[in-house]
Structure formats: C-alpha cells, structure tokens
C-alpha cells in the first residue's frame, strides 16, 4: 500500500476533532464524578490494551485453530456461529455471572432470568441456524452444482430470521 496522502480536509478535521477531544478531556478531568485521580485513564488504556493484546490475539488464534481442524466445507457456518456465539456471550456475561444483581440483592427485577438456560437457548438457535446452513451447503455440493461452495446459500446466515 502506498503511503497515505493527506489533503486540506484532513487538517480541518484534525483541528475540529482535536478541539472536541480537548473538550472531552478537560471535562473528564474537571468533573467531580471522575476527577483527576487517573482511574479513568487506567480503564481507557486497559480497554485498548485489553482488546489489542488479549481479545484480538485470542480471536485470531481460535479462528486459525478452527480453520486448521475443520474441513473447508464446514468452516464458514462454524466460524459464523462461533463469532455470533462469542458476541452473544460478551453481551450476556454480566448476567451469567450475576454482576450487578449481586449489588442489589433486594431487587429481583434486575437480571430476572435463569441466564444459563436463556443463554443456552439463544446459542441453540444460532447453532441450529448454522446446522441448517451447513446441511444446505452439503446437499447443494452433493448435487454437483459447479458454483463455489460459499455461494451455495446466497445471503444464508445462521442468525437471519427466516
């Protein structure tokens, strides 16, 4: 890739963006709810480092491992279902662990479900979709259509409601 070029629009955006960032930064440090203690800075850096050096390598590793183990025909549905499952688990993990609920023991309307069952149900829907997708792929491939395998179900996708 050739080196990026920067026009006048970039410098205008940089000026505006830097101003907005400065407003946020000054507000952050000046707000008594946050203050200059540096806790937020730790969390901000932690958010970036946590993604770049924990979540991202882990995701790449799992993806590569799955790609290595599975036959090529299975990969797309399984990887799609894995990605979707991972995201759903991220969204529900505070409820799975009871984080939040444990701070308000007298309020049963917070996280009112049995989240193990609820999460397994949601994941079952995702993997059932992936199974249907995979079956369609295999059947289509067995019929000897000469289309590339990933085109076997255009738009097909484990979580799109049919």
């Amino acid at each position: 890739m050739s080196a990026p070029t920067y026009g006048r629009a970039y410098w205008v955006a940089l000026t505006i963006g830097a101003g907005v960032m400065a407003y946020g930064g000054i507000g952050l440090v000046g707000d008594t709810g946050v203050g200059p203690s540096g806790d937020v800075a730790v969390w901000l850096v932690g958010a970036d480092v946590g993604h770049d050096f924990v979540i991202a390598p882990l995701a790449c590793f799992i993806g590569a491992a799955v790609a290595r183990v599975l036959p090529r025909s299975c990969r797309a549905p399984v990887q799609a279902a894995l990605l979707t499952s991972g995201v759903l688990l991220l969204v529900v993990f505070p409820a799975l662990r009871g984080f939040g609920r444990d701070q308000v023991p007298d309020n049963p309307s917070v996280q009112p479900l049995d989240y193990t069952t609820a999460t397994l149900t949601a994941l079952a829907v995702v993997w059932a979709g992936a199974a249907v997708w995979l079956t369609v792929r295999i059947v289509t491939a067995a019929r000897g259509t000469r289309r590339p395998p990933t085109r076997a179900t255009p738009g097909g996708h484990p979580t799109s409601p049919r």
Binding site: M1, A13, S37, A47, D52, A56, L90, G100, T121
Partner: protein, 388 residues
C-alpha cells in the same frame, strides 16, 4: 514514497480496505447515533439554561434512549469485526511515514480506547454493574466527546480512501498493509467470501438486537433472553431500578405522619396527608417509564395532576417545580419539572398503578410520573413540591 509492511502472519483476504470501509461506515453511523442520543439524554437530565426539553411527544425519550442502548449493543460486533479487519495495521513497519500519518495513528488510540470503553461501560451500566471507582455517567459522557473527536480526525484521514473503497465496486481488493503479494490469494485461510463475512457480522449485530431489544419493545419481551430486564417482571408487573430499602425510605414512606408539602413561590403553602390527596380530583394517564439503562414499560397511572396542586397553591402559570423525595442521599433525591412538564395535563403525582396502590418499591405513597421523562427523573416517594 515510503511504504509500510505488515507481518506475513496475517493471511486473510478479508482484511482489506473495502471491508474496513464498510464496517467503518456502519460504525460511523452507530457511534454518531449513540453520541447524539447520549448527549440529548445528558442535556435532559442536567439542562443548561438554553435547553428546555418538552413534555411531548410522551414517548420520545423512550425512543431516543431505547435507540441509544440498542445501537450501542449492536455496535459491539461491528467494532470487534472492524478491529479484526485492521488489526495487522497495528504492527505495520515503519510505524509512520509522515508527520500527518503519525498524527493520524496517534488519534487512533483515543478512538479505539474510547470506543471499547464506551461499549463496555454502557453494557455494564445496563446491568447496573459498576466495577470501577468513578461515576459512570460522568465518565461515559466525557469519554464520548473524546471518542467522537477522535472519530472526526479519523474520518478526515480516511474520507477519500473510504469513499473510494465503498463506491468502486469492481476495484481489485487491496489487502491491508502491504502491496499484495502474488501468493497471498492462494495462502488465504478464510472460508468466507466478503458477502458471507459481512452477513455474519451484521447478523451477529441483529442477533444481539433480537435477544435484547425486548427490554424496551414489549412484543419482543419473550425473546429478550440476554437482556438484564424484562418489562413485565417486577413488583406489580414491571421493573424497579432502586428499591425502597436501597434508598433508605422504608420507614419514612410507611410513616402515618407522611405529608406532601407544596411550598416555595406560592400564594399559600399546602400540606396534604395521603387520604387528602386521594380525596382530590384524580386523573388517569397511560405513560411509559423509560429507564436510562434502556428498558421501558407502559403502565396505567392514577393520581393528582401537578398543575392542579400548583393552581390550588396559587403558583404562577409559568412556574417550575423541584420535586423532592423522602430519599436523603444520592443525586436523584429530587428532580426538576420545567414549565412544560409542570403544566402538562398528564404530569401526575401518582397514588396508584393499574388500579392498585403503588408498591413501596415503585414509590409508595406518592411518585412523580410524567410524559417524556427519563426514569431517574420520575421521582419516587415524593414528599415536597418546591415551586421555583
């Protein structure tokens, strides 16, 4: 011209400019929506002198805050996928090729840190889970400004490349980082083509929405499997954010000596017992209670109109009101009714919900309920209207 190279370990052909552009454009939209709805919510809760939030339409705040939370949740897979696509760029060598490029790359740090921070803290807040030592609302608000500023810089840097990648449909896929090596297309490990990859990412975002949005969209409540709230679950059939015990008002709310006082800039101060309030003309309103954390639910409330009380006390027709709770501590022990909210015919001090006296956790003996207000400003256990 100097060129950067990225480590050869990243072989997926999905990590290209077009996928980065498509996901980037989607995130540009979702982050902007979250920013605008978030700033709006902040202004409503803490209005500066130039800002007056209307009391109508009654369900507007429910919509904007529902959109804020749903959009933030749906952004989680979009952001992760975007970062996966551009991940090799983190290791590009040399790190920068010009001063402008260095500045662009430095601005990516607040963008990524802020984006991940906002989505994580927002998600945790929907669970009322606060594993950090700072105030959520202040941090979430100010970091939003930092993030959106970094996004503006990023858009400025990527505008031309993004447009080109979005609209030049037949352009050859330029792999990120290095000029494409001839062998790359054969070494690619991905089983996805572009369409399948993007369908998966947007499908994951749809799945998140489908399994959580029922916390505010009542018809979908039964499939809100991953939401921290059900709009039909709680005392009297709907959720509670802060219980009477947590607020420390169990004794005072049940005290037979309970009184509502109307005072401040009035011609005559008034004091009511609960029975006296019940004897006043009652009004019924079907209104949503729309929590800042993203759940909402519509209920049938019954009680005394605030404006009737203001008229009885002889307050000005343009009067504003501070509504005080029995609650002694915390930021939300009172809330303000601006001119429109104070005089809206549906702004009530409710004694009943769905035909029953309010549950203690819903604000017994008396709670404020009005159209188009955040849940935290529907003050519970009301004991005083201070006319300003």
């Amino acid at each position: 011209m100097a060129e950067q190279t990225t480590p050869g370990i990243f072989t997926s052909t999905l990590r290209d400019e077009r996928n980065a552009a498509i996901l980037g454009a989607a995130l540009g939209v979702t982050f902007t929506v979250c920013f605008v709805t978030g700033v709006l919510s902040h202004l409503i809760q803490d209005p500066p002198s130039w800002f007056q939030w209307p009391s109508r339409p009654a369900g507007l705040y429910r919509l904007t805050q529902g959109v804020h939370v749903a959009t933030g949740l749906a952004s989680i897979p979009l952001l992760l996928a975007k970062l996966w696509v551009v991940f090799p760029k983190l290791f590009a060598w040399p790190p920068f090729t010009s001063v402008a490029h260095l500045v662009e790359r430095l601005a990516i740090f607040p963008l990524v840190a802020g984006g991940v921070f906002e989505l994580f803290t927002g998600l945790a807040d929907t669970h009322i889970w606060y594993p950090w030592p700072f105030n959520f609302r202040a941090a979430h608000y100010w970091v939003a400004w930092i993030t959106i500023g970094a996004l503006i810089v990023h858009l400025g840097a990527k505008w031309t490349a993004t447009r080109a990648a979005l609209f030049a449909r037949d352009a050859p896929d330029a792999s990120l980082g290095v000029a494409q090596r001839p062998s790359d297309t054969h070494r690619g490990t991905s089983a996805f083509d572009r369409r399948t990859f993007l369908a998966t990412v947007f499908g994951a975002a749809s799945a998140v929405t489908l399994f959580t949005v029922g916390q505010t969209v009542a018809p979908l409540r039964k499939i809100a499997l991953l939401a921290p709230r059900r709009p039909d679950t709680g005392p009297q059939g709907f959720p509670v954010n802060r219980t009477a015990a947590t607020a420390g008002v169990v004794q005072s709310a049940r005290d037979p000596g309970y009184r509502l006082t109307v005072d401040g800039k009035v011609r005559r101060s008034l004091v009511f017992t609960r029975d006296e309030l019940r004897a006043l003309p009652q009004h019924e309103a079907t209104l949503p209670i729309s929590c800042v954390e993203g759940w909402s639910t519509t209920q049938r409330w019954r009680g005394v109109r605030v404006r009737d009380l203001l008229d009885r006390a002889g307050a000005d027709s343009g009067a504003e009101v501070r509504v005080h709770s029995l609650q002694r501590r915390r930021a939300y022990r009172f809330s303000d009714l601006n001119r429109w909210h104070a005089h809206d015919p549906d702004t009530l001090l409710a004694l009943e919900v769905n035909g029953e006296p309010l549950d203690l956790d819903h604000g017994y003996p008396l709670r404020l309920i009005g159209p188009n207000r955040p849940g935290v400003m529907q003050t519970k256990w009301v004991t005083r209207l201070a006319v300003q």
